[in-house]
Symmetry: C2
Subunit: 271 residues, 2 copies
Amino acid sequence: MTTQQLTEQIKKKKSFLCIGLDVDLNKIPKHLLKEEDPIFAFNKAIIDATHHLCVAYKPNTAFYEAYGLKGWKALEKTIMYLNVKHPEQFTIADAKRGDIGNTSTMYAKAFFEDLNFDSVTVAPYMGKDSIEPFLAFEDKHTIMLALTSNQGAFDFQTKKAEDKELYKQVLETSKSWTNSENLMYVVGATKAEYLADIRSIVPDSFLLVPGVGAQGGNLQDVCKYGMNDSIGLLINSSRGIIYASENEYFAEAAAEKARDLQAQMEAILSK
Amino acid sequence: MTTQQLTEQIKKKKSFLCIGLDVDLNKIPKHLLKEEDPIFAFNKAIIDATHHLCVAYKPNTAFYEAYGLKGWKALEKTIMYLNVKHPEQFTIADAKRGDIGNTSTMYAKAFFEDLNFDSVTVAPYMGKDSIEPFLAFEDKHTIMLALTSNQGAFDFQTKKAEDKELYKQVLETSKSWTNSENLMYVVGATKAEYLADIRSIVPDSFLLVPGVGAQGGNLQDVCKYGMNDSIGLLINSSRGIIYASENEYFAEAAAEKARDLQAQMEAILSK
């Protein structure tokens, strides 16, 4: 999917919501545990109930790897279901990968070819030759951590490096990399006040914004400082939506939470 | 395994060699492709031929994920084989993970509990609360990227942040984290000249050193500047050992390459 197509989807659905599929077997409704594949059963129900309200789904690979083979199978079934039933959805493998060149190529193949995700999240610490192998894939997107939503972001990301905070160095340096037009960036909603500065460095890139809801980020602030002419934002909510209820109507409850956010987004877009 | 036990193994085997199991189906001997699980068949043969020459094995997860379910299954079989047949080996999941707290906990469970690795590599970009969940596991080790072996290391890691290079900030800051005694660090052999500085910050920690061989790092230099009283080094070689030959005697060829490195290490240890 191209970023133009993503923006079209956002305008059509009046939503720039991304739903994080972070499935924890301790948190899903108990009756699903009887299913052959409880993780996929949960995801399918959530997707069926919410796909008209969002433009992207983001499984975090940690939650699947924690269940070993079963988990990886559930991830495969989830992305296949999305690609077959909802090809209009932008899919994000939230994997935060990054390694030396030939190894990054293997990760890129895993997520872009084997699983056929539209995008993958990566960590910038190892620099240019750890990210360019991802950028080499046509019509695929690489979403690099810039300023994350957690407290630990202040450990290194905001440290001044050569008179500029590390996350700004990361943003600026990455613009010179081959195929950098395939880059998007992670910027936590909990750091909305930094968005104006970030937009001055990467005015056109899409930003994936986690941290609205459970982590306390504010949607209005994010949009005020982060939105561009192509919208340029994907706001992620995971726990706040998918664990809205533990009873048999969990999918409807999730849809209600998604609807709340979509309605707020529609109001912002119509301004 | 404790670091004391690791040092004992090193002294007993006169080797601080770690063998990287980065299995690429395009590079393994063709006759193995007929096997039901070619990746595991390759790993088993390499392990059987080399286990007396090394103290650690390090599968890089990228190479397994690239083959989807089959790959994950091969990884499970490999670590199980190591844990059952060679419990004296220190096992490293080279995964370079790192995420916000609850997600890092899921990764830690995946590698420490589900797969039962002794250690996992992590990326520091997201700071303290992304790493501490790994450190919370008793008798498990978390190996954090400090100064990596690739060219991209100079993009951010060596940038001066508050008058100190980022990788030094990473080393120093991490010492204050809860359970930091469970930390080890990745330092590329291609950056041997930095090792004296690194040792002044983390004198007692084990360093995992990739980049000897294929990437051009020098073993003597690494030992000169990086070794401490408990040895404190694990030198990794992957491609240089496991792809020594493509014919039916590939495992013997790998053992020969491992023997070369082990002999060099024995000479250094006996000085």
